[in-house]
């Protein structure tokens, strides 16, 4: 499966090290995907990376990716200019359970760049509002500068049946928002555990503690979903780079029900 060149329409700086790329398809192609899926993005001469799609699934005329620049390959992606191309393979993997969650309350819990793979869920729920109950977004960032999609978070918070709670690990004295790790937001939550599906994405330890909090509040492990990250290469379950216990993260995930992966979560050698 070869990368197909898509054309960079726009690159937007979200935070000091995180950028959103909007790519236009080659003639005749569309950007259809399920929230939670990822693509392999390739920059010629640099390398290929698995990047979650962060855009609106109801708008297939483009594909949107939010990338944190942490190394040579991600830096080469975020410094692409409008009109240049990026090779795209995908979308790949199993996404968030948006069909199974119909009729239920939705909790989206994200940490750091983990909000990017969850933003399509929020778009989907808002575009199909009558199909879902309450939407609650819990978001934790390192500091106020690193809050992703800040304007959208504020806009979502104003919508009916939608609550947004965000926090930062540390704030300066001029910061008037909430400070504390993401789990400290749970005290504000009015949870109906039997009616709720939770979707969680962030650093693995953050997901573990969020899962622990949600389970302690009565949520079922079958209604709690985590998006895992491993070293995806082929993205179709052949090469084994992303094998995690009995699972290939690229093909069986990246989204897994907690009940399926709980025994693997605290095994450091995997």
């Amino acid at each position: 499966m070869r990368p197909v060149p898509w054309v960079v329409r726009q690159v937007t700086k979200e935070t000091p090290d995180t950028f959103t790329l909007v790519l236009d398809p080659p003639k005749g192609a569309r950007g259809r995907f399920t929230p939670g899926q990822f693509s392999m993005l390739w920059v010629c001469g640099v390398g290929e990376l698995p990047i979650s799609i962060s855009g609106d699934p109801t708008r297939p005329e483009s594909l949107t990716y939010t990338v944190r620049s942490v190394g040579a390959a991600t830096q080469s992606l975020v410094t692409r200019q409008a009109g240049q191309t990026v090779g795209v393979r995908g979308p790949f993997g199993k996404g968030w359970p948006i069909e199974a969650a119909k009729g239920r309350d939705i909790i989206v819990a994200a940490g750091g760049i983990g909000l990017a793979p969850l933003r399509p869920v929020i778009y989907h729920v808002l575009a199909n509002r009558s199909h879902y109950g309450r939407l609650t977004v819990l978001y934790g960032a390192r500091n106020p500068r690193d809050i992703l999609f800040r304007k959208e978070l504020a806009a979502w918070a104003k919508l009916p049946d939608t609550q947004v709670f965000s926090t930062v690990d540390y704030g300066g004295v001029s910061w008037r928002g909430h400070v504390g790790v993401v789990t400290t937001l749970f005290k504000m939550l009015r949870l109906r555990p039997v009616l709720t599906t939770a979707m969680v994405c962030g650093p693995e330890i953050m997901m573990r503690v969020v899962a622990r909090e949600l389970l302690a509040r009565g949520l079922s492990g079958d209604q709690l979903f985590l998006s895992m990250e491993r070293n995806m290469k082929c993205a179709i379950g052949l090469c084994g780079h992303c094998q995690w216990g009995p699972h290939f993260v690229c093909k069986d995930g990246p989204v897994f029900p907690f009940s399926q992966i709980a025994p693997l979560l605290d095994r450091y050698e995997l």
């Binding site: 944190r68 940490g111 390192r142 690990d169 540390y170 910061w175 504390g180 504000m188 650093p203 503690v209």
Partner: protein, 154 residues
């Protein structure tokens, strides 16, 4: 009238759930309503810790001042939360600064008064120690997570 109101508020607060009514009465004897304007420091690191607060409205930041740097907010506490546990643990000194971020209303409980009551009423002392231990434990957990610097580019 104010005493009755304080009694209801304290008795209905989740932190004091299932506390013996006689113990609630003892707490009310040490309680008063307070208000802090935005920006006002409620206490500062190193000062004597002789109170704790039930926040009724507003937001309080817990701050630390690193040497040669501006203060950092390490936690915020909102409506319904408890501010301060140093009143219960020797040497009864505040470990951090606390500042009202918004206009904040609270019930202040006099820790000196309560410590005396806890000395003479061990059952009350044990009940309060159990409840404050949960707060201290929760904040210790959160601090350990903060120390991991989860969202840094590792």
């Amino acid at each position: 009238m104010e005493i009755q109101s304080l009694e209801n508020i304290i008795a209905e607060h989740p932190f004091f759930a299932k506390l013996d009514p006689a113990h609630i009465g003892l707490l009310v004897g040490c309680a008063s309503n307070v208000r802090f304007e935005p920006g006002k420091y409620i206490f500062r690191e190193g000062e004597e810790a002789n109170h704790f607060y039930l926040i009724r409205q507003g937001r309080v930041s817990v701050e630390i001042s690193p040497p040669q740097r501006r203060p950092i907010v390490v936690d915020t506490l909102d409506e319904g939360e408890i501010l301060g546990w140093s009143w219960l643990v020797p040497p009864y000194q505040w470990r951090f600064h606390a500042r009202a971020v918004d206009s904040t209303r609270a019930i202040a409980l006099d820790g000196k008064c309560l410590r005396e009551k806890c000395e003479s009423n061990k059952e009350l002392g044990y009940e309060l120690l159990k409840r404050f231990s949960q707060i201290v434990g929760g904040r210790l957990d959160a601090t350990r997570l903060q120390l991991l610097d989860l969202y840094a580019a590792h």
